[in-house]
Amino acid sequence: MSLLTVTDLRTWFHTRNGVYRAVDGISFSVERGETLGIVGESGSGKSVTCYSIMGLIPSPPGRIESGTAMFDGVDLLHCTPRQARSIRGKRVAMIFQDPMTSLNPYLRISEQLIEPLLIHEKISRRDALVRALAMLEAVGINDAAKRLHLYPHEFSGGMRQRVMIAMALITKPELLIADEPTTALDVTVQAQILELIKKMQLELGMAVIFITHDLGVVSGLCDRVQVMYGGRIVETADTRTLFYSPKHPYTRALQRSIPSMQPKGTELFTIPGMPPDLSKPMPGCSFAPRCEYAVERCRVETPQLAAVSPTHAQACLRVQAGEI
């Protein structure tokens, strides 16, 4: 059985300007120990998906309209707050993009590190501090004993991200959700953090959901990738298949617009137009207005994910019909 199974999740935001369908009917699952990449541009719904699972959607305006997220037999979207608390932060942990805003600037690192332990486990402060120290060393912070009692502002960006990872992993979660954890970092530091996540995953045997817009990061880290556009999953496959034989026009276009994939001196391939306005739901495929293959049918019929092979599914009507 999968560790996490999300079925038909819809998260909408009811604002004064209309209803934003940030996530609009997505289903996916994560196996134990596997790394799933979620790729998409800003506004594609990749973060909202994970915030929904973690119960972090501000409500109002956000509302989970439908769907279930079964984690080891418990529906995270509909369980009692007590049940949710026993899973969130202990068995499912999350790290965020910006380590400066997600650490509490008023509390010492030590306080923040032991908090999940004190909440979720019967442990004394002293033992918790010992665990915190060991964890800081495990994530590669030099002089951990000296730095344990510092404040977040005394760390650099990369170190703060290490502290965040330590905080998330201290309860030995089974699933780690990483929401663009390296976007705010320099490439050299990004390489360090990616290595660290890989190493910790191997040690703890946890599953990872890795959200990013960088296809390069996904290619080295993830077992499986799903591509999101306009609140829906447009393609999902194992990493090699997705990179070497993508089927959906959006995945192909996304791949072709990466500068490093194109010969120097040529005009870069671009996807015309702009991402869809999610407050104005339209019939048909949300990528149709920007798609070079779109025909009349694409603007009328809403495409559904259909399997190409057992590990590969995509949602393009024309690919499904065998036309492209």
């Binding site: 050299t188 996904v218 080295g220 070497y244 500068p259 490093s260």
Partner: protein, 327 residues
Amino acid sequence: MPDTILQLTDVRTHFPIYAGFVRKKHVGTVKAVDGVTLSVRRGEVLGLVGESGCGKSTLARTIMQLVPTTGGTVVLNGKNLSDCTARELLAVRRGMQMVFQDPYASLNPRMTVYATLAEPLLVHGVCPPANVPARVAELMKTVGLSPQFLQKYPHEFSGGQRQRIAIARALALEPKIIIADEPVSALDVSIQAQILNLLSQLCRKMNLSLIFIAHDLSVVKHISDRVAVMYLGKIVELGLAADVIDHPRHPYTRALVSAIPTPNPDVERSRQRIVLAGDPPSPINPPAGCAFHPRCPYAQPKCQLAVPPLIADGPTREVACIRLDEI
């Protein structure tokens, strides 16, 4: 060289640090830019890369004379900018313009697009007031926006469109050189490509020089003719874009190149990555000798003795590493 448009010679920008509230005491210096010598030719795109804090943005601001230089000279079109009076500077600035990273912050939210684009024209008096509307409309077309958006405000545009407006504003005075400080970092991949295409088209069409600052090496490789790699206020490697990025020579450039994840799973999983330990050191008390030696996998005791100069390595290449022939 006659076709050199911008010449930097040993440019230094230092910021003093003071401690104390009432009686300020000088306690140290941040050497943000520390001895940069660089030239940009007419119509050339020069990429400037480095980690955050290496001084690339400060260098851009120094060239624009937005921060005072501590030493060295910036010569634009034969004119030494550090000797200019304020009045002369105004005239000189017509020749160089800047595009900033965040198009959400660099446009005035209370000014319509028309007002934003007309302001430089009026301030510098480049065209008679009667011709301003026509010129503004032309600028909009140059950057691929419809003139019918002129009465809109910045918040009504997407990030990519805003960056186009910022580029139009920079072009308004027909500059010789544009300095773009991370112009695509805040944009999505598909929008990035559009802006990059626009910038390289403009450079070709108008014979513009461009200093393109970024931390994304693949973007820089695509758009630049030459690339300069900065580390802690100094240039460590300089050469043709494809050479520097495909065959890096300086240990820092090698590490930087190997840190970029490639969108190719087979390559990505099999390659050897040089993962640098630690963060870039502080520019307040930079390490002695070569500033990179504490993180360098090839460092030897002699690297701590003297600051390595940029040495020519072939006709188009300069590298600052004393162990270049040994590694």
